[in-house]
Point group: D2
Chain length 395, copies 4
């Protein structure tokens, strides 16, 4: 038996192909008919060939749908239930899962727990077939599934619950953002926008969002009450300080190791190369723009190995060792926290905000397309084509 | 009028000289007759000429004594009161002081609050004459003084309250160490020993202390129930993991930018140079030895400028930009927090532990000497002479 | 020298009279020209003669204005500065002030710190002349004053910073209200409305506000996105559960010991006496309507002595011993936290929300009147006359 | 098939009888051969006939042992594993379990989740056969079991992990006890002793333990560094304040609704009846002895219905409505938290403290007896016979 899914075919290539129709493998599994499944920025790392992902992997870790089959041990779910599936696969009973650190489950990754944590359709994160497909298997389903109200209401909003809404929220949590505080968020991609939106929902007083894609900055202004900082117009640290009248309370990095570095170029009057990656630049900008004793939340991805790094990246950087202004960080008594999101820590409450009509994270969704259009949409999304913010695929 | 004090005379030189006898300058000041005043590891940074400190500065930020004079505005202190004086000078009414961040007071540093925070007798930390002298002025005294019981009981223990006991404790707080957890502490100097002692007092289950001075490691075993890890015997990360059976919950850096790097030498089979500084090595060892989602508390000093850096340090490192394994840190979802201690956050409770007979931090004190012996004691302490752990000077 | 102020003349009587023109008494004092000063619900306890307040006391603890005089020890304030004055008088250097518990200062109350804490113009809270007057003295001014931007912008909003906006916020903090959670708030007086408004600002998912004055419930719906529960229409516990589909996450009591008890009457089919006080009823309703492990924030006033208690109150209740459903509370594993607000914990951030245009707490203000109208306004406010929500007096 | 177990036969009567040999009922179950199982103070509530417990119930919720059988869905446990079994039965995937509130699981109690939570062998806490038997069934075993090292080392210490060590610890957590703080603990039964022991492990500065059984107070002094307060010698509130020099920071109630009231008798000079219950007295004593803004942790049991209440208890009290000094509580700005322990929040770390040799909670164990001696031991324990502190039964 087979179903259709999005299959990686090598750098910059995906195809719709027949893949294994998932079956119950363990009494705590369920099988889900996928109704919505998104392309994530982190899929692009694999798509671009900058990971160890091999051909044949089925992509997709942002899925939701309806339960089609239920294992014998499942006790709180039934066929027909509509659920959101966090991108993390988590066992529910290791030390980390019990303490809410479900992004770092010690059991699901067969590699001996290094790295900790599992995910669907992702290289190095365990053997879990991806969700950009008609059906998917969800292990430890009682623990991993989040029940949604029946029907199709809020489908696009709920589709954000598998990853980016919680991940953006996580950024503000890692930064310990409190109501009334000011925050600088670097990156206005889907995660950055969700971080800005989270900051607004939590009652931040001032929200600065830094990017250079104007359409994304516009979304930040329209939906997140944010002040847009276009770093093609100048040094973002200075622009924020000028606008705010000093340093901000907290900062969020929603970009990661592929960050680019306009301001150094500007300082040196050299011609501006906006595409040159500088993996540590953003952390150092955050250290400067955040006040003493402030906190930085790092949800943009950093990797210990970057096999496909461009030549402009040093060997040390390609192994994840970055030049961090640690002396400055210490002098300011700052702290930082990092890592992928523990989706289950937030998704229940974010769902409730959606159901209560107080959150509509789907403002980031620019496209809803049939699954069969995946190859085209990957290409557009990877090109950061104007107006392509977030793509939902519909099997 | 003049009093005797310890005066910096240039690299590796201090002298006992006549210095200004402090006077009440503001209604909230008090003048203190100093009874005990310690030499701190951070004094050595100035002593060794690795800071911008100029000749003539009076050293000393770890002092206690008896109030000799009281300003008109002081309301809770009287002549004759015995007090401990936190090394931080803090105003008590700026945003940071009000929130307990007294190490980062926004008012006391005349340099416009960069860096935030003030201290006695320390370069760049404001115009506050040091406490290695017969008398000293304490500004905002109602806020800064901690009252002690009259008499001379616990004098050596209380002398630890101005800096190193709270600073060691701060390391465990920054690492978010909880009862029952395991912790690795790098450095068994006075601050490292106080961190280990704090970990014991808080109910840590396993405490690993890393150093290469055996007499200091012995103190850690005898007074802190710690397991000593001598990094001249091997790679400390591996030694801890072998001993513990895996990664520890939390980590503390009580060394800072002058950390040295034996294990890389060992890996390469090159001859071992135990004095070669490698300012980032310790952070990266902590990232490896601490479990996913663990926290690192960094109280060892890191500086944004190291004017007297040895030649083996790169220019970038001398500006405080260190090679940090950020990819690994992120993959493990770790966090870290840094900075000098906010003494007032802890000193009241640590005093109570001393008074109740539950804490005796003076186990680190190896010498109590007359103030006049300061030049000799600076020399011995700077040489890390065997058996010289902590020196109290008595004016 | 004298100024005009609102003076208590015995039960249900206040008058505008000449009172002492305050002077600098201590180097840390400032004198303020009052620009706005509000009548508070807690003033009514004294006004109604239900406290030990004696004739001659000058009322008023919700004031703001411009600094007219500055003591010698004051270092961060200058003549002409516009400030908000928290209702708490706090020294800034006792254990409680240092830990942010400024409502429970151990020094300012000359009664030996029982009760802890001080306030302007309030019986039993120290010798601090009230702020319903042309001028007032502010002790420990560096610590107590909150600077506002010069001019007159946001005057009505800022007037809420002395007490009710922070107090409402405090209710949600004591209840540990988190974003995405549901909350039941009992009382739609000024404090209850501010609690509901705070819940909205913090990102609560569902907010239920219970009262029986329709105009106040309307404000809750219009400005706080709350669901109004009029307890004249039924048992509020059942109404909330019906509306919400179960128990809520958290609860706030913004009424206190003068709460009234319609539902018991209803249960018994006895004729309904909506004015009969039942000081414990609200706590017990909260215990029922909040989920297991939920938290209750109690900011409505409870008193250990109620000298003017109505006859329907038992002697035990008049001494503050109330019948609390402790067995139920325990079975549900709930917790509760109580007490007057520590204004300084919040006012800085609430000011920033006002300045950023994200909070407009002045929606509760129904009247701005000259100080001379105080007698009339006290009468109307005490009658809970329809449309009289919050009164600002202008000296 | 049948095994032997302790069966309730009516007030003050238990017998050893044949009971059902448990079987795997669900893929996530395991069956355990019980090696140690304790009598708990809360068993006595049923034993004395003060609950709705019916004849035939098998007692026991403090058990440990070796896994004999494993369900198909169990993934982290194997036959032969030695485990501790928390007294709470918890599903691991409801909102409360996911948030660590495992004492208030929403799924395991078939009564519709009122009350929330389940337990073995306890009236009203679900259909889970008790552990004072040769074998027992553990549902959701991956989640509920805590693995112990193989063998028999620390058997008595580990036997404390199912309930009283975590429950005592929970008392100090609910009171938010911090290192360096002082605490008053009412009750020196097994839970009170474990609370005092936890306070010592956490670094409390002063620990006061109140009881009237001298042998228990002696244990508190010998093993917990506590100051004993025998309330037959005077009013415990005054005795603690005299000893401490004022109010303490935090308080723990380890007695509950069956507390007795010597001090009122003393105040009134009436003849002293030390056995007269006064269910609210202890809470009110805690309110008085704890400082303003202090916190009370209530782990002593309070019940919403007390069917077998003595005649001296009022009808209102028998329904769990107690006279609490709420006016005083509010004036002091205190908070309190209540409820049975969420064992899984602590047992992993307490186990590690035992394994590291830093905790030996078995100092409370006075008897280890064969299961067949249960009837005699229940009688002695219920009589609070001198020297009978904690009884372990060995099947």
């Amino acid at each position: 038996m087979s179903i259709e899914g999005v299959v990686y075919k090598g750098p910059n290539q995906v195809a719709i192909e027949d893949v294994n129709d998932p079956e119950i493998q363990h009494p705590n599994d369920v099988i889900v008919d996928v109704s919505s499944t998104c392309i994530c920025g982190s899929d692009l790392h694999m798509y671009e060939g900058r990971t160890a992902a091999e051909e044949g992997i089925v992509f997709g870790h942002e899925a939701m749908g309806t339960i089609a089959e239920v294992g014998d041990g499942v006790s709180s779910l039934a066929v027909g239930d509509r659920i959101s599936i966090p991108f993390n696969v988590a066992c529910g009973h290791c030390k980390n899962c019990e303490e809410g650190k479900t992004g770092f489950c010690l059991n699901v990754n067969p590699s001996g727990g290094v790295p900790a944590g599992g995910a669907y359709g992702y290289v190095g994160m365990g053997p879990f077939q991806g969700g950009q497909a008609e059906r998917m298997r969800v292990p430890y389903a009682d623990f991993n599934a989040l029940k949604l109200p029946q029907g199709s209401e809020h489908e696009d909003d709920f589709a954000m619950l598998a990853d980016i809404f919680p991940t953006g929220w996580h950024g503000t949590e890692l930064a310990d953002l409190q109501p009334g505080e000011s925050v600088a968020i670097f990156g206005a991609g889907p995660v950055g926008l969700m971080a800005a939106y989270s900051a607004k929902l939590k009652g931040a007083s001032e929200i600065y969002v830094v990017d250079r894609v104007q359409s994304r900055l516009d979304l930040a202004e329209q939906h997140c009450e944010a002040t847009a900082i276009n770093f093609e117009d100048g040094n973002p640290v200075e622009m924020i300080q000028d606008e705010h009248g000093g340093m901000v309370n907290k900062g969020v990095d929603a970009v990661g190791y592929q960050s680019i570095e306009p301001d150094k170029a500007r300082e040196s009057d050299e011609p501006y190369d906006p595409t040159k990656e500088n993996p540590g630049v953003l952390i150092n900008q955050l250290i400067r723009v955040v006040e003493p004793k402030g906190r930085l939340g790092i949800v943009g991805l950093y990797v210990p190995e970057d096999p496909g790094a461009p030549e402009t990246i040093s060997e040390m950087e390609a192994q994840g060792r970055l030049g961090i202004d640690f002396g400055k960080l210490f002098e300011k008594g700052q702290g930082l926290a990092t890592g992928q999101c523990d989706v289950k820590s937030y998704n229940r409450y974010l769902r409730d905000l959606i159901m209560a009509g107080r959150a509509e994270p789907s403002f980031v969704v620019s496209h809803r397309e049939p699954l069969s259009n995946a190859p085209e949409m990957y290409e557009k999304f990877d090109d950061r084509e104007e107006g392509v913010t977030k793509v939902i695929l519909e099997p």
